[in-house]
């Protein structure tokens, strides 16, 4: 007998998670299953802390948001990992006590510009896209 055609699952669009589908940050801080919902914090990446101010002219660093806690939209649900997520993961490895791992798929990203000297004293201005997380999937 001809098997009924297999119902194909509609292909899940690889879209960034929509912030409204999740328990917002104003819900109780313990979600339905008693887990610690992740909360949003500001992370300042300081070029001063990295010891780079002898060649970086501006800025002194930049601040972005990060999530801390068990989040509903982990980073790996979103194919294009942001530069900031990679940077945060690396800073986490250097300062595990102060900076948590990157955990959340961002929904709003902006660029940051860095002005610096190269080894031949030329001055270079470089714009880094998707470096600063302005909003993330959990909130």
């Amino acid at each position: 007998a001809v098997r009924p055609p297999k119902r194909r699952q509609p292909k899940k669009p690889n879209e960034l998670p929509h912030p409204n589908k999740l328990p917002g940050i104003f819900d109780d801080s313990h979600g339905s299953r008693g887990r610690q919902l992740c909360r949003r914090h500001e992370l300042y990446v300081s070029f001063q802390d990295l010891g780079w101010l002898d060649w970086v002219i501006a800025p002194q660093g930049y601040s972005a948001y990060y999530c801390d806690g068990e989040c509903s939209f982990p980073l790996d649900s979103c194919m294009n990992a942001t530069n900031h997520a990679i940077l945060q993961s690396l800073v986490h490895l250097m300062k595990p006590d102060t900076v948590p791992k990157a955990c959340c798929a961002p929904t709003k990203l902006s660029a940051t510009s860095v002005l610096y000297y190269d080894s031949s004293n030329n001055v270079i201005l470089r714009k880094h896209r998707n470096m600063v997380v302005k909003a993330c999937g959990c909130h």
């Binding site: 990295l50 980073l75 990679i86 791992k101 001055v123």
Partner: protein
């Protein structure tokens, strides 16, 4: 890998050793698009005075940082398309000055090896400061810029016309000459320096020494020395997965 739940606080967080920290910094530099940690030659104390290129680039940085404003001028629009702006300050200047017969000109040679590979040039400009000329009062001057394509020992060099600006002998300020057309050849001859030749003529076609016209070269104060600025559009960097 993915961000599983954080290890319980009891789990000892191992801090990194010096070599691992250096590896991490190299990783962060790679995210910032840098091959390695630049080590600019520390300028001698006298050279710490503000120089023309960093001053100009700092203005660009503020313009780029605030690039949302609608009334963007030509420079801001040029900036909006650029991912990378590079100012070149290391140049060799050659003067065919007064003691030679006409025509007079100034040549500036830039080291092209510092131009990053894989970037598309969207615009390039040569900036030179002009003071009011005390020798050519109230004259109109034509300033032309050429690329020195090929030099010959026994005859005049092959030149490629780039830009022409007309100004008054009494004018003062930064003169900006568009050298974007020269960038087509850069990628072909990266190992050769880029030679730019500057000529000044009066209305009746007489060649004038650029120094007499008030154009400042390498001898000028640091904040008024000539330099070149190049705007690049980066090729889309491949997405990276966090390790």
């Amino acid at each position: 890998g993915g961000p599983g739940p954080r290890p319980p606080p009891s789990c000892p967080q191992r801090l990194l050793g010096a070599r691992e920290r250096r590896d991490m910094q190299r990783e962060i530099l790679a995210v910032l698009g840098l091959p390695g940690r630049p080590r600019p030659r520390a300028p001698p104390a006298a050279a710490r005075l503000p120089a023309s290129a960093p001053l100009f680039m700092l203005d660009l940085y503020h313009a780029m940082a605030g690039d949302d404003d609608e009334d963007a001028g030509p420079l801001e629009r040029r900036l909006g398309r650029a991912d990378l702006v590079m100012s070149f300050v290391n140049m060799v200047e050659r003067d065919r000055a007064l003691d030679h017969q006409e025509p007079h000109w100034k040549e500036f040679h830039f080291d092209l090896t510092q131009i990053p590979a894989g970037e598309a040039v969207t615009a390039a400009e040569f900036r030179i400061y002009k003071e009011p000329s005390i020798h050519l009062l109230n004259m109109t001057l034509h300033v032309s810029m050429f690329e020195v394509v090929q030099e010959h020992s026994n005859r005049e060099s092959d030149l490629f016309f780039l830009d022409l600006q007309t100004l008054r002998a009494g004018d003062e300020g930064w003169l900006v000459l568009d050298v974007t057309a020269a960038s087509d050849r850069w990628l072909l001859n990266r190992n050769k320096d880029l030679g730019l030749r500057l000529c000044v003529e009066t209305e009746d076609g007489h060649s004038v020494d650029p120094g007499l016209a008030g154009l400042l070269g390498r001898q000028a104060p640091r904040s008024r020395q000539p330099f070149m600025v190049t705007f690049f559009r980066a090729s889309p960097s491949p997405t990276r997965v966090p390790r």
